[in-house]
Amino acid sequence: MIKDKEAGFVVIDLVKVIRDNKDFLSEIDGKIGDGDHGINMNKGFTLCEEKLKGKEFGLSEGLSALSETLQEDIGGSMGPLYGAFFGEMAFAAKEVISPEVFGEMLGNGIAAIEDIGSAKRGDKTLLDTLLPAKEAYHAALEAGKDFAEALEALKKAALDGWKSTENMIARIGRASRLGERSKGVLDAGATSCYLLLTSMAQSFQRLL
């Protein structure tokens, strides 16, 4: 059983995975974007870590702090998008994070991204990681799998979703002006999103 107030470390794990992949994310963004995705993300996540340092916090408080930092201090595209995502997740969290609660957190977070960014599946964005991951997660639960197994399904689908961006033509954001030239490289946002989802699932699995 995952208790919100014991799962604050999940957010610290998110910070770590971004920090460890900072250069990788910038490199990917450099191919069809402006090469700063890792920097932007790392700046926001590190700032959040500093704010949380020395504090006691649960999952929802940690996610709230992350959301606030991204929205108030980072800007860019990631400030509003990930800001809203983690904000909605925090808001939907309950004292006990049941498989259903997590499903709702994910769903609300994704809905916020769709609302603000108006991107669609296939546009070569982080939604191409998120949407299949969410679907696989729910399908697993419906098929009677337990939380840990559903998270495993989520990870697998996030990976496939991320990889699928390689052959997409970007239809939104900076890369969308490239048309055909945006094909053949992974999307930066989808990459960070894959890393974040996988990290979160893994952290949860450790509690199960």
């Binding site: 910038s26 490199e27 963004d29 450099g30 069809i32 974007g33 402006d34 090469g35 700063d36 920097i39 932007n40 700046k43 929205q71 108030e72 201090d73 980072i74 800007g75 860019g76 595209s77 990631m78 400030g79 509003p80 998008l81 603000i116 960014g117 939104i172 954001g173 900076r174 969308s176 002006r177 490239l178 030239r181």
Partner: protein, 332 residues
């Protein structure tokens, strides 16, 4: 390429401190350290002009704060939109009761953050309307103008919007003038050497010696083609071949030309290109009413130029003729 910085992660913060110190006669800090405003803002009875965007484009955006120009500017990290909070704070600073015209460039991050800022400002009873610059011809076909990036044409949009507001026009008239300015404006850029984001430390794209990238974006977004490096005269021709048919500009038109370096381009080279630009326009029966040549909208230390042409009518001419005082554009 060596850079003169302290902590590469804090170049924007350091620059802002220096900018405020050096320009106390024009620029005031606000309670948001990522929002600067004109010392006399809010100006009674005047529509507030707000803009903002990622850093690394000096003098844009803060260099256009000043008299008859922008009132308040939200500052982002290098090549990254300001936060919604900063856009909101800039709107609050600029508002003098007659509303705020937020004139900015068409980038995903800016669009989202401005949208969120407006929601907050409206809750405070501040009316905000927007014009989204999309002057970069190379960034999408004409049929998808709504996808095009805003580039150096933004300077002319601010000049026109700022002048119109200074004349006492109401918000709708300011927005209409700024929108007309950008609708009448076309730009294109040519890059001959890449730029380096200080925190990245190396160029994230390459332009091989002896080649150039036509249609390059202000953040190094790839252009429409990579070609053998041409002469200045040929580059002038190539840029106008893209710009002129797009509006289109035709014989008899009067235009403003803005030729900007991208940061590391000697002004000498800019004038060499300008020389041919004006000749070609003349050959096409197009009259240059006013020319701006210099580093008006840059991309860190990128080397290359952007060419911007705006077709004038009576109203736009009046706005262009208006005096202005900002660090990036001073005019009597």
């Amino acid at each position: 390429m060596n850079q003169i910085v302290n902590d590469p992660d804090y170049v924007v913060e350091d620059m802002l401190k220096g900018f405020i110190k050096a320009n106390g006669n024009l620029i005031a800090a606000t309670k948001d350290d990522k929002v600067l405003k004109y010392v006399n803002t809010p100006i009674k009875e005047k529509v507030g002009i707000v803009t903002g965007g990622g850093s690394g484009h000096k003098p844009a955006f803060i260099g256009y704060i000043g008299e008859n120009m922008c009132d308040a500017v939200a500052v982002g990290q290098i090549f990254s939109s300001p936060t919604a909070k900063s856009f909101y704070n800039a709107m609050v600073e600029a508002d003098a009761g007659r509303g705020v015209a937020c004139l900015y460039g068409n980038y995903a991050g800016d669009n989202m953050n401005v949208k969120m800022a407006i929601r907050r400002a409206e809750k405070d009873g501040i009316t905000v309307k927007t014009v989204v610059a999309n002057d970069d011809c190379a960034s999408a076909p004409k049929t998808e103008r709504e996808k095009r990036r805003g580039v150096a044409g933004e300077v002319l949009m601010w000049k026109v919007g700022g002048a119109k507001a200074a004349m006492g026009a109401d918000l709708d008239a300011v927005i209409a003038a700024a929108q007309k300015a950008i609708d009448n404006t076309r730009s294109v850029g040519v890059g001959v050497a890449p730029c380096t984001i200080p925190a990245v430390g190396h160029a994230n794209f390459e332009i091989a010696d002896g080649t150039m990238e036509v249609g390059i974006g202000h953040h190094g977004e790839p252009g429409v083609k990579v070609e053998k490096l041409k002469t200045a005269d040929e580059i002038a021709q190539e840029m106008l071949d893209i710009i002129l048919p797009d509006l289109p500009f035709v014989a008899g038109d009067e235009v403003v030309v803005l030729l900007s370096g991208l940061g590391a381009t000697p002004v000498m080279e800019q004038y060499i290109v300008y020389n041919r630009v004006e000749e070609i326009l003349k050959e096409n029966g197009i009259l240059v009413y006013k020319a701006y040549v210099g580093n008006y909208f840059t991309s860190l230390d990128m080397k290359g130029v952007t060419l911007t042409v705006m077709k004038l009518d009576k109203e736009l001419k009046e706005c262009i003729d208006m005096p202005a005082d900002s660090t990036g554009l001073k005019q009597r």
